[in-house]
Amino acid sequence: MSASQGSPDNSTQQDGDVATLVTGHSRQPSLLSLLRRSPIGLIGTGIISLVIVLALISPYIVPHDPIRGNLRTRYKPPGFTGDDGATHLLGTDQLGRDIFSRILVGSRVSVLVGVVAVMIAGTIGVLYGLTSGFLGGRVDGFMMRICDAMLSIPFVIRVVAISGIVGPGLVTLILILGLSGWVTYARVIRGEVLKARENDYVLAAWSIGQRPLWVVLHHILPNVIASAIVLAALQVGITMLAESSLSFLGLGVKPPTVTWGIQLADGKSVINSAWWMTAYPGIAITITVLGVVFLGDWLRDSLDPNVRGRD
């Protein structure tokens, strides 16, 4: 089920083939040269770079204090200028805090959670998938039934239930998202391992008596790592959305930490009057995740067409 057809960078695939013909060995064109030819990849990389930079420098560049507000300027609409002459570009919230500043600082949690949780999930999932696919037989069957069971509780419900019972907090949240997200990788990687196992060079490695661990790490892992990277990119977006859902429900990160989900929860209670409290943080989430989606799509089209992930 190739999903790459019709993508704007189909041509790159052919270029790769031509390169193979000319040079005689299959060398992937560098990602950077592929990027130059794909608008989607460029936009995605641009958005993600911007968000990461903002996450790093936001505490030093925010126009207002994101945590302490001014109670005399509560619920002010976008563009409001206070007595002190300071303008609130996107308005203020129920404690008179500047929404623009809070959105800037909120990017920190999104990036941190998205990246770290996906790294945890990816590592566990890849190891699990390698083990399951490599061992095969009954062990594989049993390990896959466990995956089925995890997947039969939808991701958001899984994390809502666990974080509801374990309690909120940034570190717990990252752990929960990481420890519940690995199943998707496990399934995909296992499938890839089953395919890679049948390659001639893997069989050859066996026949010259290489040890199992060596075969897995040197001959099978390099074959499946592209899928893992693509999946990871797709999962960053899903993880970020899950974080905002959890924080929105009050099960994720707790104030005074600023996150976009908490801002949306604040906005919901005054949705009748202060629409800007709800609108802008959501736009921030959408643009960020859109960047991740673009990047993931582009990576999938250039590295591996067989991955699809969202459970």
């Binding site: 089920m1 190739s2 999903a3 790459s4 057809q5 019709g6 039934r145 466990i146 089925d148 069971a149 995890m150 997947l151 039969s152 509780i153 939808p154 991701f155 958001v156 419900i157 809502v160 239930a161 666990i162 509801g164 019972i165 374990v166 309690g167 977006g237 959305l241 905002s244 859902s245 929105f248 429900l249 099960l251 949306l264 906005g267 919901k268 949705i271 009748n272 629409w275 709800t278 609108a279 959501g282 989430i285 959408t286 643009i287 995740v289 859109l290 991740v292 989606v293 673009f294 799509d297 699809r308 969202r310 459970d311």
Partner: protein, 305 residues
């Protein structure tokens, strides 16, 4: 065929047993459930009595056996707060969630299929790029935020639709749209790629070359084959939909299973959380078994796999 169905059902039951195991341990994840649930004013003696009452003093294995044997008969215990059987509460809410998920899937499919098919037939056209763009935004948007924005426009500004509850029939419009958009976004991209794959096949070219019109080729020849990956992903997407329902139901105060679970988590009503988890999982497994059986009906090759 019968054997195929039987195998799938046995697999489903094994999956459910593992889920029950997860649900059982989840509640004990943070140590002694009594320490967490009991009011802070309870002394050790009272806590001990509570432990005995709920059976937490027995060995874990025995507790699990008791839990599972009761769960099979539909007994998940009494909800702490409402003092009603947890099962009863869950069954009450299940219908509302299914209704919402059903309407949302209908919206999702009826938007995604035409969009995907038209896109695949006019590849790289303005329409194709536009709908791909919209689909990307739809995937990236948090569904509950879309719901909040709809409340702002349709309830607060235009005063057209009720912002919460399920009293008026029109109350289902916004929550189901909210959930349907995400599904439409994802499925339309999938439909497009599944169609593109099939449109390259020899039998489609043959169908064109014998002079059939596009409509016949698309619906008779291409669509039937593209439907299989679409159905698989649709089944998995229902899980996504059920997951989203937890948040969307909270936004719209829709009286479904998701909101029951959130409310129960809020008051640490573990019996209800366990029952809700198992029923979410049961719904998901059942639907996917039905889809597997449907495949076997559409595609005879699968039956003999």
């Amino acid at each position: 065929m019968q054997q195929f169905i039987a195998t799938r059902i046995v697999q489903g039951i094994i999956t459910l047993i593992i889920v029950s195991f997860l649900a059982f341990f989840l509640v004990r994840l943070k140590g002694d459930p009594v320490d967490i649930t009991a009011p802070p004013t309870f002394n050790e003696d009272q806590k001990q009595r509570l432990r005995e009452l709920w059976g937490f003093d027995k060995p874990l294995a025995e507790q699990y056996v008791i839990f599972i044997t009761r769960a099979v008969t539909g007994d998940f215990g009494i909800a702490y707060l409402s003092k009603r059987p947890a099962m009863e509460l869950v069954i009450e809410r299940l219908g509302a969630t299914w209704l919402l998920a059903g309407v949302a899937s209908l919206i999702g499919l009826s938007v995604a299929l035409p969009l995907g098919i038209i896109s695949s037939l006019n590849r790289n056209s303005f329409f194709d790029l536009g709908s791909t763009m919209l689909a990307s935004i739809g995937t990236a948007m948090p569904s509950f935020w879309l719901g909040l924005m709809m409340i702002i426009f349709f309830s607060v500004r235009l005063r057209l639709l009720p912002a919460f509850g399920a009293l008026d029939p029109s109350a289902i419009i916004m929550p189901s749209l909210t959930m349907g958009v995400g599904m439409a976004a994802y499925l339309s991209r999938l439909t497009r790629s599944a169609m593109l794959e099939v449109l390259n096949e020899d039998y489609v070219r043959t169908a064109y070359s014998k002079g059939l019109i596009t409509r016949t080729v698309v619906f008779r020849h291409a669509m039937k084959n593209a439907l299989i990956p679409i159905m698989t992903v649709f089944g998995l997407q229902l899980g996504w939909l059920l997951g989203g329902s937890v948040v969307v139901e909270s936004v719209f105060s829709w009286p479904g299973l998701g909101r029951l679970m959130i409310d129960s988590i809020g008051v640490r009503d573990n019996t209800v959380v366990q029952a809700a988890l198992l029923f979410f999982s049961l719904s998901f497994i059942t639907i996917n078994i039905i889809i597997d059986i449907l495949y076997a009906v559409i595609d005879p090759r699968i039956r003999f796999d």
